[in-house]
Amino acid sequence: MSLALDLFSIAAISAGVFFFLAGTVGLLRFPDALSRLHALTKADNLGLGLIVLGLLPRAESLLAALMLVAIWALVQLAGATAAQLIGRAVRRKGPAI
């Protein structure tokens, strides 16, 4: 059982790392600000989400697990807001800001 959980953790966390990598590559390679923003949000949502998912089986208590989920939810909220705000700013002032 523990082995299965470990394997699950490893798989989820590795997938999370992949999305962080993808987010970075997108940030560096995509042609314009709005599409770079697009890449970025994937890292926020999926990257951290998968890592939290992978860490859940290892949480010491239910409260700790809830805390992990809450952190992810907050980052989701922050990421979505930041993406909206930056996107609007870029559209309003042009990509040079």
Binding site: I13, L28, A33, R58, I71, V75, L85, A89, I97
Partner: protein
């Protein structure tokens, strides 16, 4: 297992930081802001991984604090980008 967690923490940090180093020249402030946002998320991820691996106490509060403040820099950035100095000549036109 904790070695794996630590290695991933390092990998994430390294990945997102490369983004910042690469983006030194911009092109625009918005890109720099995005890089900072990405590092913020990456930092929280590695913090959680490090905490799980080393069992340090009280780290979840730090992660919680960082998560709450994650959008602050971006909010300030946008807020300062729309200052009162130059009122929009055509307020209806948000496009």
């Amino acid at each position: 297992m904790s070695d794996f967690l630590l290695a991933t923490a390092g990998a994430i940090l390294f990945t997102v930081a490369v983004g910042l180093v690469r983006i030194l020249g911009g092109p625009g402030d918005a890109d720099r802001m995005m890089a900072a946002q990405l590092i913020g998320t990456g930092g929280i991820a590695s913090l959680l991984l490090i905490a799980a691996a080393t069992g340090a106490r009280g780290v979840d509060d730090v992660a919680l604090g960082l998560a709450i403040l994650a959008a602050f820099a971006s909010a300030a950035f946008v807020n300062s980008g729309a200052p009162a100095e130059e009122p929009d000549p055509n307020p209806a036109d948000d496009r």
